[in-house]
């Protein structure tokens, strides 16, 4: 019901479906607790985050399709990681992770290294080799 009031709707229907608790002041200056959905201004900057992520993912996809980057780069963006986060998740040093973004290096990677990436992205090793 509350959903109808908003001018600004999330693009993803799953977003903004939880009510949260917020503190605020009422008209008389007393503190009150409200359980409510996000209001319009909150929606704008939360949506901005996902818009930027979508653009990053799409840009990464293009780079992989045109053969400039390896699929690891795409899946990193898809999982909202930066190279540093990915490096700590797979326990491989940052410069090696960055090197694995090169398609030529990626082709020569061992199965066990690929398995580490696959686990971090919750994929199978075969799925890691292509992007959809």
């Amino acid at each position: 019901m509350d959903e109808l009031k908003f001018d600004y709707k999330y693009k993803d229907p799953e977003h903004g479906t939880h009510r949260e608790l917020f503190y605020s002041l009422d008209k008389d200056g007393n503190y009150e607790k409200n359980v409510r959905f996000h209001d319009d201004s909150d929606r704008i900057f939360i949506e901005q985050f996902w818009d930027v992520q979508k653009e990053r993912i799409e840009a990464a996809r293009q780079l992989v399709v045109s053969g400039k980057k390896s699929p690891i780069y795409y899946y990193m963006e898809k999982n909202l990681m930066d190279p540093m986060t990915l490096s700590s998740q797979v326990s491989i040093s940052l410069w090696r992770v960055k090197r694995h973004f090169k398609p030529t290096v990626f082709k020569k990677l061992k199965e066990e290294t690929l398995a580490k990436y696959a686990e971090a992205f919750k994929l199978k090793v075969d799925e890691l080799k292509t992007i959809i």
């Binding site: 903004g16 939880h18 608790l21 917020f22 503190y23 200056g29 503190y31 909150d42 901005q48 996902w50």
Partner: protein, 333 residues
């Protein structure tokens, strides 16, 4: 299953702390736990990037609230910071469940199945309480959500052992015994003194009210330095950190105001009530800042508001906030 009452809260850690205290028969409200445990903070670390934007935090480092609140309220509490391996952490949790102790955990939210999807980022400082086990399923009280949840062992192990910045390493904490005759007045006064120090007295320009001013000055330069798109994203980051999940609104300033108010009413202290009102005004200013700032996030390349004006607004807020802390420093409780 333990007879544990789930109550939704504004912030995850003060919420879990308050719920744990309440389980042991000590009625510590969320704002009270937040204030006594020094939840309020501000830090701006431009050279550390989180999700491609500068790191901004309105809260203290994880586990501060629980540790300090437990210490000041004289509770016999245990914090296990780190486990050697996942199996050990699971065994410890199972032992607690057999003994019937509701246990707080630090987890990462990216793989948390029931978490609101718009918040699923690589954020590893979330807190929740496990209060029972049945076969392969754990009962979870997550204060972000209205209702209690369940989680499978595999999922729980994944979120407890997530790697990256502020990795939890299976951290868990619980209360053994509370002291119901503790002097709450002393706890509140210690909590306020420490918060005042952390927000005005730290000898480091990126923390506290000086940090807000430092960020305001940077904010004015963002469009020139990084271009409109990035400036808008950075501004969005400030707003996300202050208004988003687990802040209770206005970068925790509302929760803190509610704490001052509750303390003022409890101890019949007019000065605390005045401070609470001042904090409320500051919080309203933060709200206003995010309303106006949000317009610049709508269309990233065409700002509708001037960054200089937004920066000035923040500087104004920082001085207003400083006044509150100066007043608090003088109050004798």
């Amino acid at each position: 299953m333990i007879d544990f009452t789930h109550r939704q809260a504004g912030h995850c850690e003060s919420g879990t702390t308050s719920n744990l205290f309440r389980y042991y028969g000590m009625d510590i409200s969320e704002p009270m736990a937040f204030g006594i445990g020094n939840g309020l903070y501000f830090s701006y670390i431009p050279f550390l990037k989180v999700q491609y934007a500068p790191m901004i935090s309105f809260r203290n480092i994880p586990n501060t609230i629980f540790r300090r609140a437990a210490k000041r309220l004289g509770a016999d509490a245990v914090v296990i910071k780190k486990f050697k391996n996942p199996q050990e952490s699971l065994d410890a949790l199972n032992r607690n469940m057999e003994k019937g102790i509701p246990t707080g955990l630090q987890v990462g939210v990216f793989n948390l199945p029931f978490f609101p999807p718009e918040y699923r980022m690589h954020y590893n400082m979330h807190n929740l309480v496990i209060y029972g086990k049945e076969g392969d399923t754990f009962y979870v009280s997550d204060t972000v959500l209205e209702l209690p949840q369940t989680i499978s062992t595999a999922d729980l192990q994944r979120v407890r052992w997530v790697k990256g910045a502020f990795a939890p390493h299976g951290k868990m904490y619980w209360i053994n015994k509370v002291d119901k005759n503790v002097d709450i007045k002393k706890a509140v006064s210690e909590g306020i003194a420490k918060t005042v120090y952390e927000l005005t007295g730290m000898p480091f320009p990126l923390i506290g009210t000086r940090g807000i001013r430092f960020m305001a000055k940077d904010l004015k330069k963002w469009p020139k330095k990084h271009g409109q798109e990035k400036a808008s994203f950075y501004l969005g980051q400030v707003l996300r950190m202050s208004e988003e999940v687990g802040s209770g609104g206005a970068g925790f300033r509302f929760i803190y105001g509610a704490f001052l108010k509750e303390a003022g009413e409890k101890f019949n202290n007019q000065e605390l009530l005045d401070a609470a009102e001042m904090m409320g005004n500051v919080a309203m200013k933060w709200r206003e800042f995010s309303y106006i700032g949000a317009r610049n996030c709508k269309s990233r390349s065409e700002p509708t508001e001037d960054y200089g004006m937004l920066g000035d607004m923040l500087i104004d807020i920082s001085y207003k906030e400083e006044e509150v802390y100066k007043k608090l420093a003088k109050i004798k409780i």
